[in-house]
């Protein structure tokens, strides 16, 4: 009897042990992104789904506020605690991929039946490329265009949205109505990434790029911007307002045109009590070269991961769900093979059509490992010119000198 009891005990404890260790080895994937900090987003939703759909993989998802994401990842990488998968804003991606912190997944993508490089728009794909190799895949994309208040346009007798920057300035003057607190235009020329986001496209449409900023065309448009600010056709506060707040003044009817992107559309449908539309970003000369900013985040696997196969499976799952992200999260997939559904909201669908066209001209910021410094040189020059501390040309020349120093020319 005693022996039986001991045997039973042994059997029970053996059973307990086998329960504690699962039938097969589990892999833990750490995924970091900004989604889920203030509202549900792509990364947290899909990570959870991937976790539940795969018994052999446990996903530890962590939401990190936008401002801390790069710093937190840098610190984690330096101390050997980096996540397996991380989602960065596209200009930040090169900081990591250029230093070997991201896993080269060129071959994996070539062999994948889910992820096909050809399906992605060129701009977003460029942001995950470095040295001819792919280090990630685009998560979603966005860009900027011109929102315009059709009621105010009709009142001022203007029938068409502006085609060139000179026209936009001319319309801004006509639309300005100080008695009713209406500015002709609003945009974001803030001292930060948003400022570069809005100004770099102008450099690009003048034939320049982040490595060549002191073009005549860019100086010309910067002079026009300054004219708008100096004459009160745009608020002086464009120098400190972010895009979200700046477009807020458009929604409340205090600005007749606003430069911003598709993330504004849902709020505008709610808030704006007037008829509005979206137009492509103006060009420097009529029919001239087009460009626009390229926003959006990228997915990447960090090179320190111990589970590259499982991490890539996760990316494949995320990519396979791209057709859901517009309907569920309002984000535009960075892919040409996905037909976006019609929402039935007339203005929203019309706006989306314009932004999809605009996306074809969107160009990435960089990619460059020291993008943040280049970006600062660009928005500093823009602000120096707009505040009249330097002429547009001089400010851009100074930025060029700084950028040449960074690029090691």
């Amino acid at each position: 009897m005693k022996l039986h009891f001991a045997g039973l005990l042994a059997a029970v404890s053996l059973g307990a042990m086998s329960l504690a260790t699962p039938a097969f080895a589990q892999v833990t994937l750490k995924i970091w992104s900004i989604d889920g900090v203030d509202r549900v987003g792509i990364a947290d939703t899909f990570s959870k789904e991937f976790d539940e759909a795969n018994d052999d993989i446990v996903v530890e998802y962590r939401a990190i506020p936008f401002d801390d994401l790069v710093n937190e990842t840098l610190r984690a990488f330096a101390t050997g605690n980096a996540p397996d998968i991380v989602s960065f804003d596209n200009p930040d991606f090169a900081l990591f991929s250029s230093r070997g912190a991201m896993l080269d997944i060129t071959d994996r993508i070539a062999n994948s039946s889910v992820i096909k490089a050809d399906n992605y728009f060129a701009g977003p794909l460029n942001s995950v490329s470095w040295d001819g190799k792919l280090f990630g895949i685009p998560k979603y994309t966005d860009t900027i265009g011109v929102f315009y208040n059709k009621d105010l346009f009709a009142k001022a007798g203007i029938t068409e949205p502006p085609k060139t920057w000179a026209q936009l300035t001319e319309y801004a003057e006509k639309l300005t109505d100080p008695a009713n607190n209406v500015y002709g235009a609003t945009f974001s020329a803030r001292a930060g990434e948003e400022g570069t986001f809005q100004f770099l496209p102008i450099i690009q449409m003048s034939g320049g790029g982040y490595d060549h900023v002191n073009t005549d065309g860019a100086a010309e448009v910067l002079d026009l911007w300054k004219k708008m600010v100096d004459n009160g056709w745009a608020s002086k506060d464009v120098l400190s307002l972010g895009q979200w707040d700046s477009t807020g003044t458009f929604n409340s009817g205090n600005a007749a045109m606003a430069i911003s992107g598709p993330w504004e559309v849902d709020r505008m449908v709610e808030d704006a009590k007037f008829d509005w539309g979206v137009a492509l970003l103006p060009t420097i000369t009529e029919g001239g070269e087009r460009s626009s900013a390229l926003g959006g985040f990228d997915w990447g696997i960090m090179s320190t991961t111990k589970h590259p196969d499982e991490a890539f499976r996760a990316l494949e799952y995320f990519a396979s769900q791209d057709n859901r992200i517009f309907a569920e999260f309002g984000s535009i997939p960075a892919r040409s093979d996905i037909e976006l559904p019609v929402t039935g909201v007339e203005k929203k669908d019309a706006a989306l059509k314009v932004f999809l066209e605009q996306l074809q001209y969107a160009q990435p910021r960089g990619p460059h490992p020291e993008w943040q410094k280049i970006s600062k040189a660009i928005y500093d020059a823009m602000q120096q010119a707009l505040t009249g501390q330097m002429s547009s040309k001089d400010a851009l020349n100074q930025a060029q000198t700084t950028i040449d120093g960074i690029l090691g020319k």
Partner: protein, 300 residues
């Protein structure tokens, strides 16, 4: 052994133990990070070497690079304006309020206590509130100034290079006012009343009493308040991201914000460390003044 244990309980050993505990704490919590920071300012730092102590030596190159930055002298000027006028404003208005509340009218101490509300508020909250007050098109301050006829068109406090640094100075004066007033009130309360009575009997007027009694008796307090004000102002960071973000075109960037921007926005950790070392030297001077003024106080 026994004598050793004995001295630990009561004697030189006990003193050394106390000093040792304090020193270990100081070195671990303040000394090592400080040394690490100074070391970083002489090294080449990037994201790969962020975690290691031994890095390529850069000598004074980081210092030379910082001084050569186009924004260096602008930032130096802004830092001077910010520190000098914040401290000046906080001190003068704080002293005036302290003297005012020293008049002991009914409710004086309660109202004085309420002034502390501004001091207990987090800098980011204060920054957000002032950011709305100072807003250009729909700001409260502009509306008030316009209604009083002081200005005819809006001042763009946050976006006009002529005003941006002053926007932060105003907010910082408001934030630090209560602390200055409180410390100065304590100093005022410590002055014996009979001194004033004797002076009054001798026929001294209010200004003479202030100049010959209040100020000399407050010397050490004033020294301490000014030094703490300097340290506090150089540490003031929260207001900048909340109000101007250093813009437009760096016209409201001060050294502490610049250092943060270099390290955590541009990821140039070496330059960020270099700027903070430069500031450290300034704070060190202030600390020496502070320590000397409080030592004077102890000796009476």
């Amino acid at each position: 052994m026994r004598r050793f244990l004995g001295s630990l309980r009561d004697g030189a050993g006990f003193d050394i133990l106390l000093v040792g505990a304090a020193m270990v704490f100081l070195i671990a919590m303040a000394g090592l990070p400080l040394i690490y920071n100074v070391l970083m300012s002489f090294q080449q730092v990037d994201m790969f070497t962020l975690g290691s102590l031994i890095r390529p030596w850069a000598g004074f190159q980081n210092y030379i690079d910082v001084v050569r930055e186009p924004a260096f002298w602008l930032v130096a000027k802004n830092t001077f304006i910010f520190v000098f006028f914040s401290m000046g404003g906080q001190f003068v208005i704080g002293f005036a309020l302290a003297l005012f509340f020293a008049q002991n009218f009914p409710g004086a101490s309660t109202i004085r206590g309420l002034f502390l509300v501004s001091w207990v508020m987090p800098g980011l909250v204060v920054g957000a509130i002032w950011s709305w007050i100072l807003a250009g098109d729909f700001g409260v301050l502009n509306t008030i100034l316009k209604n009083f006829g002081v200005i005819s068109s809006n001042i763009f406090w946050k976006s006009d290079p002529a005003f941006s640094i002053w926007a932060v100075v105003i907010a910082n004066i408001w934030l630090g006012l209560a602390f200055n007033m409180l410390l100065l009130s304590v100093g005022l309360a410590a002055i014996p009343r009979d001194l004033y009575e004797a002076a009054e009997l001798d026929g001294a007027n209010a200004f003479q009493r202030f100049w010959t009694i209040t100020l000399p008796m407050m010397r050490s307090t004033i020294g301490a308040v000014l030094s703490l004000g300097l340290i506090g102002t150089l540490q003031q960071f929260d207001l900048f991201p909340a109000i101007t973000e250093g813009g437009p075109a760096n016209t409201s960037t001060v050294a502490q914000f610049w250092s943060w921007q270099m390290s955590f926005k541009l990821y140039d950790f070496a330059k960020g460390a270099t700027i903070s070392v430069m500031m450290l030297i300034l704070v060190l001077i202030a600390s020496i003044i502070y320590v000397r003024s409080t030592r004077h106080e102890v000796r009476g």
